[in-house]
């Protein structure tokens, strides 16, 4: 029996290779200094959805909320096998915290309508909150399987998987429709397919086309721009290469629950941590030296 999956994906600054200018003076992330990448665990969520698709049939829809540039990772979703992608972009959604984000995503998913499984990565590497998935399940009224590291299968309308709780494992099942958040070691994401890449690298969302035209024709009049935009959109639509672009109106969102207005999270304090080297300890390569090292690591709670 086929199942329809929706995967929530996010473009994030690459925090794995932090350099000196990764943080701005005010303690916020300097996005310009870090390359934008596909949030790693969202790739695992996409892979889990593709596993469902290739095992049982059905479709995979990927949705990303973010600036127009986020269409880059949506194209990546298409290369890897997603059937449909949606760019959810709206200036009014800027500065949304996890509460507002999960609200907006829930509205978008309601707008999509048909689904059996919603998948999210466990957490994004920029905020590391792991809150959006669970909040989204609450808002959609879905059962949730968080921290999933094994997908066992779907049988009789029930999805079974293994959660890693950090202290052990739980094999659980939940009735569809269900939301799962996926761990980084749940699977190895498949590589992009070369043929799909050759086709879908041309896919664009309207906001990207608009920016492209403005760049190619500096000083173009509004009407000429709209005309050219219409032409390009039509051409891409005919080829099945126009990425759906939705705003808050399209998903019927209550603006009071979006963006800054809908975000109760207040940053209390930002600590700017500067890592400096303060000398070093030499560990002798003897059993005694190793014992001493382990002891110190346990004492300062690095281990255990």
């Amino acid at each position: 029996m086929p199942y329809d999956c929706i995967v929530c994906v996010k473009q994030v600054p690459d925090t794995t290779n932090i350099t000196g200018d990764a943080m701005k003076e005010d303690g916020t992330v300097n996005r310009a200094a870090l390359p934008a990448i596909f949030n790693p665990e969202d790739l695992n969520a996409l892979e889990a959805a593709l596993e469902v698709k290739y095992r049982y049939g059905g479709t995979v829809t990927a949705i990303s909320m973010g600036p127009p540039k986020a269409a880059e990772i949506l194209r990546d979703c298409l290369y890897r096998g997603a059937d449909r992608v949606i760019l959810l972009t709206d200036r009014r959604a800027a500065a949304s915290d996890t509460l507002a984000t999960s609200y907006i995503l829930s509205q978008a998913i309601r707008t999509i309508g048909q689904y059996d499984i919603v998948l999210c990565g466990r957490q994004a590497i920029d905020g590391d909150t792991a809150q959006v998935g669970p909040q989204l399940a609450e808002k959609l009224g879905l059962p949730q399987i968080t921290y999933m590291e094994r997908f066992w299968g779907i049988d009789g309308g029930w999805l079974r998987g293994r959660r890693n709780t950090g202290r052990g494992w739980e094999d659980v099942e939940a009735k569809l429709p269900v939301l799962v958040t996926v761990l980084g070691h749940a699977n190895i994401p498949r590589p992009p397919s070369a043929r799909r890449m050759m086709r879908f690298k041309h896919a664009r969302a309207e906001a990207e086309l608009r920016a492209e035209i403005a760049q190619e024709h500096p000083g173009i009049s509004d009407s000429a721009l709209e005309e050219e935009l219409g032409r390009r959109k039509q051409k891409l639509a005919e080829l099945g290469l126009l990425i759906d672009q939705w705003d808050l109106d399209k998903i019927g969102a209550d603006l009071g629950r979006c963006g800054l207005a809908g975000s109760p999270t207040k940053v209390f304090r930002v600590q700017s941590i500067v890592l400096t080297k303060k000398g070093y300890t030499e560990i002798p390569p003897t059993p005694e030296g190793i014992r001493q090292l382990i002891h110190e690591l346990v004492v300062d709670r690095t281990l255990g």
Binding site: R195, R196, M198
Partner: protein, 580 residues
């Protein structure tokens, strides 16, 4: 998240330098390659596709294939009792990943689901994969089998088999060697016979078959029992079945991930590829030429891996109060490894490019019925000259890159010293993997036989004459060009001398002539690169300062006229030992 394409500045430099537009034009538009939703929009789009495909290859090589290599090398594949082979689980994983990425129909036309990439791009991909795991190249790099089926088989066979290759469902093997027919393939005995309805069957034994456990086997067999030489051989396609048994899996020095099989055919049903009697002389020769370029690319990949390990080690290993790369003899080894790789890469990639021009020109002649008489004449002439040029460059590439690879892998161990000799580092694996490259797909000695015929019959001279005509607006480069002209003159003198000697002297002096000729050819290729890249000027300078004297020495050796290995073999070789 590594990437063996994006971290390799030389491959990327050559990608831009080698004018892919001309090849893409032929490959994508001038010859019909099937419609699909992934057809490039224009030439620039096609080139962008090639680059992105290499990025995918680079990513899989770095993130999946390379981390699996050591374990596969240690554990190898397994022969089951029923005569089938179980590939190592990580080899299967590698295959699954490259298939998911659509990389197993790399050069096949789109109508079969292939990527329709030029040979040059495939050569780059083969190098990148080989750097990650040389043994996996023998699965990834055997796509020449599908190419051969595409070039010579009937439409029915093509439609039946090629889409399965492109989907990565099947891999192939070229089944040529027999216990008594190694380098001398004319001696092949495996019998092909027909029943009353004209169906073909195969009977006999094949040995040393790379990936002989693959699903699609191209088998060279004797279809004409009364003709004892190569003209009695035809090429057959047979699929894996219980009539084809793997009797033995070889235990090898290196490339442990690649299963080398002894195969027994027991009335295995087969289909004839192309025409009878053209098996060896036409089809296998074409197949081998492609495979030789693949092995040359594999050699580049192994050498690149060895060089990178040595370069990193020399930078971090402290001795005498500093990193060992500060010691001039170590610095020289590292630099010579790198320069040797770049010289060989220049030759191999250039050769691939010529292969593309030759293949596409040939297809154009076959498919375009509306060519004007003048155009057709011109293309025919071009086909002849490209074929002649490839007849020289392909064996040269295979010979030069594989010998370079063994030397570089050897030097890597030397740089690592005692550590390099231990299993703790990959240097010893590279060394073992490298060793096959000068042997399979024709030994170095056979490559020399093929290349030297071309060198003495004018191909070398006309190739160099064309390159000497290039104008460089730079006194330094002009000076090097003049030095190369002088080196060419010395080679021509050595050739003249050889021609005046009794027959047989050519075989004896072949290696020296080919070595000298390759140095001149690579010199010209590097000269052109130096004209548009500052660092390459230093590469050119180092290459010519060290190699022009080698070229001269080769020529002097030829001029010595020494034939003592043949004349005084018994005295010089000593008696055959009574015990080993």
């Amino acid at each position: 998240m590594g990437n063996f394409f994006l971290d390799n500045e030389d491959i990327q430099f050559l990608f831009n330098f080698l004018d892919l537009a001309e090849i893409a034009q032929l490959q994508e538009t001038d010859t019909p390659n099937g419609d699909a939703d992934y057809v490039p929009w224009d030439i620039q789009d096609a080139i962008d596709n090639y680059r992105r495909v290499l990025e995918i290859v680079g990513q899989i090589a770095a993130d999946i294939i390379a981390p699996n290599a050591a374990k596969i090398d240690e554990e190898g594949n397994r022969l089951r009792e029923d005569g089938t082979v179980e590939l190592h689980p990580l080899v299967q994983e590698n295959l699954r990943r490259v298939s998911q990425a659509d990389l197993m129909g790399f050069t096949l036309p789109r109508k079969y689901g292939g990527l329709n990439c030029p040979n040059l791009v495939y050569t780059m991909a083969t190098e990148i994969v080989s750097r990650a795991d040389a043994s996996f190249m023998n699965l990834f790099g055997l796509q020449g089998i599908a190419e051969t089926i595409y070039a010579f088989a009937g439409e029915e066979i093509k439609d039946q088999v090629l889409p399965r290759f492109a989907r990565g469902e099947v891999t192939g093997a070229m089944v040529l060697t027999e216990p008594e027919a190694g380098s001398d393939l004319q001696a092949v005995r495996l019998r092909a016979y027909q029943d009353e309805e004209g169906n073909w069957f195969l009977n006999g034994v094949k040995r040393f078959i790379t990936n002989g456990c693959g699903e699609i086997l191209l088998v060279l067999a004797r279809s004409e029992p009364d003709i004892t030489d190569g003209r009695g051989l035809s090429l057959f396609l047979t699929e894996r079945s219980d009539r084809v048994r793997v009797r033995h899996l070889e235990h090898k020095l290196g490339i442990h991930g690649s299963p080398t099989c002894e195969l027994v055919f027991e009335d295995a049903p087969a289909k004839l590829i192309g025409e009878r009697q053209r098996g060896l002389i036409t089809y296998v020769m074409a197949l081998m030429n492609g495979a030789r370029v693949s092995v040359a690319a594999q050699s580049l990949g192994i050498a690149e891996a060895a060089y990178r390990l040595a370069r990193t080690y020399a930078h971090t290993r402290q001795q005498f109060g500093g990193p060992i790369e500060k010691l001039p003899p170590v610095a020289e080894m590292i630099v010579d490894m790198r320069v040797a790789i770049e010289a060989a890469r220049a030759l191999v990639y250039y050769t691939s490019r010529i292969c593309d021009l030759e293949n596409n020109n040939q297809r154009l002649l076959e498919w375009k019925k509306d060519l004007s008489a003048e155009e057709r004449q011109h293309r025919k002439q071009l086909a002849r000259s490209l074929k002649r040029l490839n007849g020289m460059l392909t064996p040269m590439s295979k010979y030069y890159a594989s010998e370079m690879c063994c030397r570089v892998a050897d030097m890597a161990i030397q740089v690592l010293g005692g550590s390099g000799y231990m299993k703790d580092y990959a240097a010893e694996r590279y060394f073992r993997d490298a060793r096959i490259t000068t042997i399979y797909e024709g030994t170095s000695q056979l490559q020399i036989v093929a290349a030297v015929r071309a060198v003495v019959s004018g191909s070398f001279e006309s190739f160099v004459a064309e390159w000497e005509g290039r104008k460089y607006d730079d006194p330094d480069l002009n000076q090097w060009q003049a030095r190369l002209a002088q080196a060419k003159q010395e080679v021509l003198e050595a050739i003249q001398f050889t021609k005046k000697q009794p027959a047989g002297y050519l075989d004896l002096s072949g290696q020296r002539l080919v070595d000298a000729a390759i140095i001149v050819i690579c010199g010209h290729l590097l000269l052109a690169q130096a004209a548009c890249n500052e660092r390459k000027r230093l590469v050119l300078q180092r290459f010519l300062r060290t190699q022009l004297p080698v070229s001269r020495t080769c020529c002097l050796q030829v001029l010595s006229g020494d034939t003592s290995p043949v004349d005084y073999y018994e005295q010089l070789a000593g008696p055959v030992p009574s015990a080993l």
